[in-house]
Amino acid sequence: MRLLLVEDDRALGQGIRVALGAEGYTLDWLQDGVAALHAVRTESFDLLLLDLGLPRLDGLDLLQQLRAEQQDLPVLILTARDGTAARIAGLDAGADDYLIKPFDVDELKARVRALLRRSQGRAQPLLEHAGISLDPATQQVHYLHAEVIVTPMEYQLLHQLMVRPGKVVTRERLSRALYGWQDRVESNTLEVLIHNLRKKLCSELIRTVRGVGYVLAVQA
């Protein structure tokens, strides 16, 4: 899952990055509104964590602009503006959730999970498909009721495929979701991860669409 954090306070941004990074999310972090607008327009993110008091473009304006452009990624506002009116304004501008600083890190993680789940059209916290069960809260994977030990990277890759079963997920999307902008991506890393997953689960489940990407088979 690839998240975009827009927060102009360095110390706070660093803290959020560490906290969400530990959950296995790929987190990209920008410090001003204009850059964030540009990033959302050109790249794909699964969730936007948005501070409101931003340089160059206020968070609320950014959000309104995104919604006007039919960008429907889930948005969680993280702000110090605690008044009821501010919360209402934030939600009405198109935010899906609103968290007031200072917040509990575990609550932030839970809200991120809930938003991601909802955006994938699910109410169930567990992702289940073809005998694979994936729990985003604990990042545990079960296959045919037996626990499968996966690395965080393998988990993220599987998660990406599980939210769109039967649909091809492109290599670009997968590597962005896994690495964001910060990490250098080795050209064969994705193949290594796929190989590992196939070994741990059933090899038939993840199919390669040559030159395009990967797809999680509807039926093994």
Binding site: D9, R10, A11, L12, A80, D82, I100, K101, V105
Partner: protein
């Protein structure tokens, strides 16, 4: 302090009493005189009546006796008869022949050795009694007719008349006092109702007074009061806004503390925990700085409401401040340099200016890379602080002075420039921020030159 009512009533009463006394005295004096004149005229008339009676026929001895009897009888009825007039007097008379022989004398008349020498109205003294009298000469009959009355009796009558004229004054003054008292009360009613409205207002209420109808002379008072209320309200609003701002913006530093504390607890490795704890410590430092800057603001705000400007040797003041900031500069590995005129006198509030300078230099030091230089330049009534840091974005310019905006600087409280702006505003100097062509930021204060002394 005595009440307004008493302040008006006492002088008014004193003036009324004095005026009344003066008028009464004048009235009494004149009317006394006039009454005397009237009584004298009456004496003259009586003398003429007597003369008229005496001319009837040739008066012999017996006639004198009859005249005496009739007159005495008439006079004895004075004040007794049913149709008596309270101001009647007992007249006496005597008649002499021109050669001085006494022909007749009424019983109460004074015994005189000879007729009085003066004709007309006169006073005379007999046996300790004063008499008012009128002497009429009748050369045709060769008679001297004298009519008189006792002065003390006449004075008694006059006193009675006078008393009657004084009664209205004696009753009128207390009545007038009462009326004036009530009228003053009526006149002061708007003031009293204003006072009552103020008294029953809720203690915290700062709503402007809207008293209607209000007499025109209370209008300025209401206006002044409302202006004062408005000032108090603005002051309170500013305080409230400040507290709200502070409480609101402390949320970010608190969020930082909380997230790094939780990260430290959740850290998988010792290295991660160490990193989170480092962030936590610098977060605490930042919160501390915010606290101390808030205190600075609270401390200088009242001082700035009444700035005490004086003539200040700028170089001396700057040198002292820079000496205090040198440890911070050394800590950051930044050179702190002072350049400029030795003699620069300005007219300013020194304490506030020192705080402004301190904030500008601290800002410059915070944005300076190690090994660079922060230069403070004095000259031409200007005081500028130049750094070699990143400068400022055009887009950031307008937010710079916002309270708690720290350009994402993890160490800044975001209050420095807000404090400087507040000071600059109040002590009446000018602040300009601009990027230097060679890189870095220049904060320039323009001060007013001290008058040569």
């Amino acid at each position: 302090m005595i009440s307004v009512r008493a302040r008006i009533l006492v002088p008014v009463l004193v003036m009324i009493l004095l005026g009344d006394a003066l008028i009464s005295w004048l009235v009494l004096r004149d009317s006394h005189h006039e009454i005397e004149e009237v009584y004298d005229a009456q004496l003259a008339q009586s003398a003429r009546l007597l003369q008229g009676v005496l001319r009837q026929g040739d008066a012999g001895e017996a006639d004198w006796e009859r005249l005496y009897q009739a007159f005495d009888q008439a006079m004895s009825r004075v004040g007794v008869d049913g149709v008596a007039h309270p101001y009647e007097t007992r007249l006496t008379f005597q008649v002499w022949r021109s050669d001085g022989e006494l022909l007749v004398r009424s019983a109460e008349a004074p015994v005189l050795a000879a007729p009085p020498a003066t004709l007309g109205a006169h006073d005379l003294l007999d046996n300790g009694n004063e008499w008012c009298a009128f002497l009429l000469a009748d050369p045709q009959q060769g008679l001297l007719i004298w009519v008189g009355e006792r002065d003390d009796i006449r004075q008694d009558l006059i006193q009675r008349i006078m008393r009657h004229t004084l009664w209205p004054t004696l009753i009128g003054v207390p009545l007038l006092t009462l009326v004036i008292w009530l009228v003053i009360g009526w006149g002061l009613k708007p003031l009293r109702s204003m006072a009552r409205k103020l008294r029953v207002r809720q203690t915290g209420s700062l709503h402007p007074l809207r008293l209607k109808p209000l007499p025109s002379d209370l209008e300025p008072m209401q206006t002044a009061l409302n202006r004062l209320l408005l000032q108090v309200e603005e002051l309170l609003a500013r305080e409230r806004r400040f507290i709200a701002d502070a409480a609101h913006e402390l949320r970010t530093p608190l969020a930082i503390l909380r997230i790094h504390a939780q990260n430290a607890r959740n850290a998988a490795t010792a290295e991660q925990r160490h990193e989170a704890l480092d962030f936590l410590v610098s977060g605490v430092d930042r919160a501390t700085r915010i606290g101390s800057q808030l205190l600075t603001m609270a401390r200088i705000e009242p001082q700035l409401s009444d700035p005490q400007r004086s003539r200040v040797q700028l170089t001396e003041l700057v040198r002292e401040e820079l000496a205090e900031l040198t440890p911070l500069a050394l800590n950051k590995g930044v050179d702190l340099v002072l350049e400029g005129d030795e003699e620069c006198w300005v007219e300013t509030e020194p304490v506030a200016l020192a705080i402004a300078l301190q904030n500008l230099v601290t800002n410059a030091l915070n944005f300076s890379p190690p090994g660079s230089e922060v230069k403070v330049v004095i000259g031409d009534n200007r005081l500028s602080v130049e750094d070699q840091g990143p400068g400022i974005d055009e887009a950031d310019m307008e937010r710079l002075f916002e309270r708690f905006y720290s350009r994402g600087n993890a160490n800044g409280a975001g209050l420095g420039l807000a404090i400087v702006e507040m000071i600059v505003d109040k002590i009446g100097c000018d602040l300009r921020l601009y990027n230097l062509r060679q890189g870095g930021l220049c904060a320039e204060l323009t001060l007013s030159q001290a008058r040569a002394s």
